[in-house]
Each structure stands twice: as structure tokens, then as C-alpha cells.
Amino acid sequence: MGWVWKSLNSSIGKKLVMAITGICLILFLVIHLINNLTLYAGPDLFNTVVKSLDGIKPLIRVVEIILGLIFILHIINGVRLWIENKKARPVNYTVNGSSKNTTVFSRTAFFTGSIIFIFLVIHLRTFWVAFNMGSELAESHRYYDILVEAFQSPIYSGLYVVAVLLLGFHLNHGFQSAFQTFGWNHKKYFPLIEKIGTIYAVIMTIGFASIPIYFLFFFGGK
């Protein structure tokens, strides 16, 4: 099976790994956002949702491991591509003309990805660790309260908003890019894919960014 390994390490193979893991993460974000939006219905619904996920803990753990591996593959492969691509041009141009022939979204994919990665680490520390490693003496509003407390911090909320804005940039490029890598660039459908990608990125940005804003400025509607 040496050819599988060789193929996945070819220039096209590496892009395929980026595209497949990217699509998985795109789908994950949809589920994540739906979960988050239950916050608007108040503490009860959100806590019920989180608790019900707690009830199927072994399954959630398996999904978390798969999701973690997908993230790691996407990140490691992305960093590797970035390093290799830098090596493909050892001497840079003195005049950079890239703003004339590319979009800001595609040019900055590595930068936005890096910021999102830093945010992801902080984000997991703030919520995943607090949700999973917190006291076993769970009061009824525990999960919701962790959120309220975290979003009290303007620094964390600000970082959150900036990160999801850059996530929107990343997704706007990544969505269409994945389809192009799969080879699904067709005259009829590709303009539609690009539009859906942009709409998706905007929904994700507004959806995720609205939550820290809601808690920081509107105190969760209280």
C-alpha cells in the first residue's frame, strides 16, 4: 500500500487531506453553532442540551477523539504545506503584486488559520476544560454560568469576536477551495458553491460573534 502513502504526500494528495478535513470541520461548525444558539432560549434549554450530551459521554468521547484528529491533521498538514510552499520560492519579490490578482481571503488563509489555532487552545481551556473537569457537584445552571462568567471578560469576548471574524475569512476561502480541490469546478455549479461558501462564512461569523456580544453588552438578556 506504499502508493497510498506516496499519493497522499504528493502535491495534490496534501491538498486533498486539507479539503476533506476542512469539509469535516465545516460540518462540525454547523452543529457547534446550533448548540450555541440554544443559549438565546435561556439557561434551561442550554443546560438541558449540555446535560443530555453528558448522558452519552462514551459516544461523545469517541466523537471528540475523531474531531481532535481531524483538527490535528488539518493543522499539521496546513503548516507543512506552508513551510514547503515557502521553500518553493526562496527569494521573494521586491514588489508584491498579490493584491492585484488574489482575494484577501485566499492570501491570508495561513495567517487566519494560525490565529484561529491560538484562539482554539484558549477556547478549549475556557470551556472544554471547565465543562469536563469542573466540580462534580453540578448545580442546575452550572454550564450556563461558566459561559456568563467567561463572557464577562471584555478581553476574552473581544478575542472571541476577532477570532470568529478571521474564521469567517478562513471559511470564505476554504469552502470553495475544498470543492476546487475535489475537482468539482463546473461552469454551472461553481459560482453557486462560491456564493454558498460566502453565505455560510457570514452566518458562522455573525452566529458565533453574536454570543459574546449578547452576554457582554446585554448581560444575556437580563
Partner: protein, 256 residues
């Protein structure tokens, strides 16, 4: 028809040899707006030679945009600011009085600089040798229309075949990737029945050689299509990816 000459400052990359460090040298010129970009460089070279100075090394051949020999990065854009033309088709009327123009060679690991603005682009020839052909072994010229090919398919193939192999896609790409070039060469055959017998072998070996020369991977920024003098579409890259995946599934080659 006498036009007023425009005064320009040219900052031209001078590099004595492949291993020596290069730098920009400024040249002040007064040039006719009717002059082509390469004619302007010819004039500078005449002037330099008359003073027994080393002329600027740059490449050109047909000077009508069909051979793919010329190629300069002008103010950060391969083949200059005007879309869909090669450097030789760029005229000085596209520049304004007092402009400063930076002229650099194509920069990529796979395109080592020979001298000044000349680069060694033979990596692209090696990719072509790996599979950018069809093997026709026998027989005389076949009858016209013996193999039916739909007009749209033939046109798409010819669109891909327009690639002149200049390397502007590599020069424009932030990753110095040759995907647009290779995909055009794969597509021109992949679309036609004549290309079918060697279909999978072609894409596998061409991509392998492309990777060996240290071209980068595609980030789908589409700078290549924007700068291509022939407007080769990135749809060809999508097609090459499809061909590659199918080759991986169907070909019997386990060595690549």
C-alpha cells in the same frame, strides 16, 4: 507621428550569475509611448553596449505573444499590469510620465536565475517529457471526422492547449506552484479520445516530476489564472485533480 517621450525610472534586477547575489540597478530612460517593453530594454542594451557596459540579459523570441519565451515580473505582476498578454505585447503607453517600474525575473526554486532577468525554466520541459504527449505509433493521416468529437469538447481542449508554457503561473503563485501549467497540459489530452490510452499514466508521472522539481502546492488563490497571458482557466486544475484521483483508483502503477 511623433509622440512626446515619457520619462521613467526603471529598477532592473541585475545578477551576474546563478550563484552571485543580485540587486536592483536604476536606469533613467525617456521612451516613446509607442515602444514595446522589450524594445525599451533593447534600447537600454544598445546604449550600455555603446559604453562597453554589460547588457541586461532577458529572454524573448517571437515577440508576438505565442512562443512563451519572454517573461518579466513588472511591478510585482508577471507580464505586467495588462491582463491576457505576454511581456512582449506590453507597450509603454500603459505607463505614465514619472513612473518607477520594478523589473524582476520569475522567482521560484524550480526556476533558477541564469543571469539578470533570465531563468532556467527547463523543469517545465522535464514535466512535458514525463507525459505531455500522445504516442502515435503507426499509420498515415486519418480521415477527417473519423473520430467524432463534439465542438464544445474540442474547444475546451484547444483552450487548454493555448498554454504557451511561459511560467507566469509559477511566477504569480504565492507558492510557486506549476499546477496551472501542468493541468493545461493534462487537460488538452484528457478531453480528447486520442489522449485516453495514456490518460492515467500521464497525470501520475507529470505530477510526480512536478513535485520532484520543488514547485509548491496549489492554495486555490487563482493568481495564476489572473496573470496567465492566455487566460488558462483554473477549471483545468480541477480537471487535473479529478484525473489524478481517478488515476489513483484505476491505474496499475504502484510506484507513484
Amino acid at each position: 507621428m511623433e509622440h512626446k517621450k515619457i520619462n521613467l525610472t526603471l529598477k532592473i534586477w541585475r545578477q551576474h550569475g546563478p550563484k552571485t547575489p543580485g540587486s536592483f540597478v536604476a536606469y533613467k530612460v525617456a521612451v516613446s509611448p509607442d515602444s514595446s517593453f522589450l524594445e525599451m530594454l533593447d534600447d537600454i542594451n544598445n546604449d550600455l553596449e555603446s559604453k562597453s557596459l554589460e547588457p541586461i540579459a532577458f529572454e524573448s523570441d517571437c515577440r508576438e505573444g505565442i512562443c512563451g519565451t519572454c517573461g518579466l515580473v513588472i511591478n510585482g505582476q508577471p507580464h505586467g499590469p495588462i491582463p491576457r498578454i505576454a511581456t512582449c505585447q506590453l507597450h509603454m503607453r500603459n505607463f505614465k510620465e514619472g513612473d518607477t517600474i520594478y523589473i524582476e525575473p520569475f522567482r521560484a526554486k524550480a526556476f533558477p536565475i541564469i543571469k539578470d532577468l533570465m531563468t532556467d525554466r527547463s523543469a517545465m520541459d522535464r514535466i512535458m517529457e514525463a507525459g505531455g504527449f500522445i504516442s502515435v505509433n503507426t499509420g498515415s493521416v486519418p480521415d477527417g471526422n473519423a473520430i467524432p468529437i463534439a465542438k464544445e469538447i474540442a474547444s475546451e481542449s484547444m483552450d487548454a492547449a493555448q498554454c504557451i508554457g511561459c511560467g507566469a503561473c509559477v511566477a504569480a503563485c504565492k507558492n510557486a506552484s506549476a499546477m496551472l501549467f501542468v493541468s493545461a497540459k493534462v487537460s488538452q489530452f484528457a478531453l480528447l479520445p486520442q489522449g485516453m490510452p495514456e490518460r492515467y499514466q500521464r497525470v501520475e508521472t507529470m505530477v510526480k516530476v512536478m513535485d520532484e522539481y520543488g514547485f509548491g502546492s496549489c492554495s486555490n488563490t487563482y493568481a495564476c489564472e489572473a496573470e496567465c497571458p492566455k487566460g488558462i482557466s483554473v477549471k483545468n486544475i480541477a480537471r487535473m485533480n479529478r484525473e489524478y484521483f481517478m488515476a489513483k483508483i484505476k491505474s496499475t502503477n504502484v510506484k507513484v
